[in-house]
């Protein structure tokens, strides 16, 4: 649909819209610090679907404990980037390094999604993908039981270690439901929860896998202002527990208040990287959001605010 069309446009106009190549290294240097405290680093990711280039040499670094927001217009490649990091897509070029613990690096590219999740990278989906007929508790349990080892035979025989693991999974799932404020929904069917609560349930399920890096794909999409405020508080709380959060979001108010760093994608390339206020003033970002003419217009904070919706 239109998404493919915009990608095709990116192949043609990409050169003009993106920053000159010389700028790229300096932008990455902004990240600063020694690489030792990185949690994830993507280098030169290129993803093509036939003739359509979705990601065109994107590099990204995230420090441990940081809340990094990825923003950009529709079809800029944000979700594609997420899909590459989590193993759903396999980019043609590039590499992704992940540090579950400081100094313990792993290559993520080429692994299957479930293996990446077990290493400590969890995600939510742009269009909520819960297990609709399972209860809220069971949804989170799927996450908390991911690394449990007991097999079918221990289950059938009811061996003590399987029972212990089971109880442990339930307890952690219940704690997480409590954390996201859904304790009163424990046994309700996931599909019956209101939209905002489904979003939070998805976050709880992702947290159940005990991630070091949490990828949230538009967690505030379709939520009301009260839910947005709760969500911001929740993300801050999650980051405070030492989980690094990588966030795609269209609501600029939320991005500016939450993120420690912002990366801007457009047409599959990264056009800006820096603190929220730096990015807000960046001419390339303003151009990407508002068009070339309004050089001195307001930043994306006013222009591209919450009324945007990702369609694809």
């Amino acid at each position: 649909m239109s998404r493919a069309g915009s990608h095709r446009a990116s192949a043609r106009r990409g050169g003009a819209a993106a920053v000159p190549g010389a700028r790229q290294p300096s932008m990455m240097e902004n990240v600063g610090g020694d690489p030792g405290d990185l949690v994830v680093e993507a280098r030169d990711l290129s993803l093509r679907f036939g003739g359509v280039t979705s990601l065109d040499g994107v590099s990204l670094r995230q420090r441990r404990g940081e809340i990094l927001a990825v923003i950009g217009p529709n079809g800029a490649g944000k979700t594609s980037l997420f899909n590459c990091l989590t193993g759903a897509y396999r980019p043609q070029e590039g590499s992704v390094t992940f540090w579950p613990q400081p100094g313990q690096s792993t290559e993520l590219l080429g692994r299957r999604p479930h293996a990446i999740t077990r290493l400590g990278v969890a995600r939510t989906f742009q269009n909520i993908r819960l297990f609709p007929a399972l209860s809220a508790l069971e949804n989170v349990q799927i996450g908390t039981e991911v690394r449990q080892k007991y097999g079918p035979l221990s289950v059938v025989l009811g061996l003590p270690h399987a029972r212990r693991a089971e109880r442990d999974g339930v307890r952690r799932a219940a704690d997480l439901l409590d954390l996201v404020g859904l304790a009163h929904r424990t046994h309700e069917q996931a599909a019956s929860l209101p939209y905002g609560e489904q979003r939070r349930l998805e976050i709880a399920r992702a947290l159940g896998t005990d991630p070091r890096l949490l990828l949230l794909d538009e967690p505030a999409a379709g939520t009301n202002p009260v839910e947005k405020r709760d969500l911001a508080a929740l993300v801050t709380r999650i980051a405070a527990t030492g989980v690094s959060v990588l966030l795609i979001e269209h609501d600029m108010g939320l991005v500016m208040s939450l993120a420690t760093t912002v990366a801007v994608l457009n047409f599959g390339r990264m056009i800006a990287y820096g603190s929220p206020s730096e990015v807000q003033r960046d001419p390339a970002v303003i151009e990407a959001y508002l068009g070339a003419d309004s050089g001195t217009g307001p930043g994306p904070g006013a222009g591209g605010a919450g009324n945007r919706r990702e369609l694809g």
């Binding site: 479930h114 993908r129 609709p132 209860s135 799927i142 996450g143 991911v146 079918p152 599909a191």
Partner: protein
Amino acid sequence: MTGPNVPGQPAPRSSTSTREGREGPGGPRRVRPSWHPAGLRSPARLRQLGVLVLLGLLAAVVTGPTGNSDHPLRAAWDSIADPRIVLFLVIAVVLWLIVALGGQLRTLAVRWTTPVREPVGAAYGRRGGPIALNLALLAVAIIAPMLFSTAAQQWMVDGVGIYALLALGLNVVVGYAGLLDLGYIAFFAIGAYTTAYFTSQTAMPWHAPFTLNPFFVFPIALLLAALAGVVLGAPTLRLRGDYLAIVTLGFGEIIHLLANNADGVTNGARGAFGVPHLSIHLLGIDYTWGIDPLPYYYLLLAIIVIVMIAFGRLERSRIGRSWAAIREDEIAAEATGVATLRLKLLAFAIGASVSGFAGVLFASKQFFNPQSFSLQASFFIVAVVIFGGMGSRLGVVVGAVVLQGLTFYLRDLVAPADRYIYFGAVIVTMMIFRPQGLVPSRRRRREIELSEAGVGAADALGAAPTGARP
């Protein structure tokens, strides 16, 4: 989260609110028809009445006199003009009323019997009602064969018992993991031929250099069938839905044709004669399961009960939940860390091993030939699982009892070739009025309700294909 417009408060009930669950953020929690006396006159209800009346006419024709090629339609007309037609129409209308008003009764029953649940831990709480019910059913199963003729007892073993066991195994594949396996009977054949190979020097031209007691063949057949399941599953389980069904169908046919045509190995279409009966010679106990069907029946019953308990534990465990997750949204399951391929393979292997196990019982019970492993048998097991209720252990056993009971009842009444007309009618009726099966599992029923309301990807056969990979 306590504003006046909090989503989560059920929207005011109205007759149009049933199908809107997805649109409004605070849509109604349950899809439930509202109670209107006029509901009986709604187009959907009238259509159901029409279908039932048509089925009644069809039943009248099918059970009426048989025509001949000179006057093909006269017999049909005779049966419709017959006064018996009144009986069939009355049955149709009564069925329709039960279906139309059943929802109200069920709502009341659910409201009265649903226990208030504690927060955490209720998932593992006591389920007193079902336990009492299960014990009652077990008592019925123990007493029932004593009331029947020997022919019926025989059928309770060969037909009902074996097929209940097969359906329990297939239920793991179809009901739990949501994979459609149309060649399931192949593992049954592997179990049966393994038994013939190891236990007898004369049953097949190809045999082991030694003979084993059939009891020792159980573990061998179990492992061999599981291995066959893994070998078949490893390359094919990457396929989705229909493609998997076609590959398994082909596998089933391959095994069937091999058994039928490899004269020098399996004795071909003549089948395997003389596989010894099950017997125990241990610590002074000497017992042989002979011609009498009753001992076989109780052995099968014990095995079925054990398998049901074991699969119940599996279903409520991490593994069962992962299967449910795969069924409902495979991509989300994978992203939540569920090793989808390995778990699907596990379901395949468990299902296959039960089938192989049943094959040993079958082979040691009686003479068998490749006809027992035809495509039709595979379809019949799938029909038992769907009819009884996918994902429900009690359901598939009840399905086997009802469908095989029907077979037994019809065997003297109609020609063998006509029997499948009745099966078709029964299953079509079932799919119209009760797509979730006779005794549906709670999870499966919720999934079907949701997919009817347009939420979730699970249809009657599991997860729909989603998302393409580059």
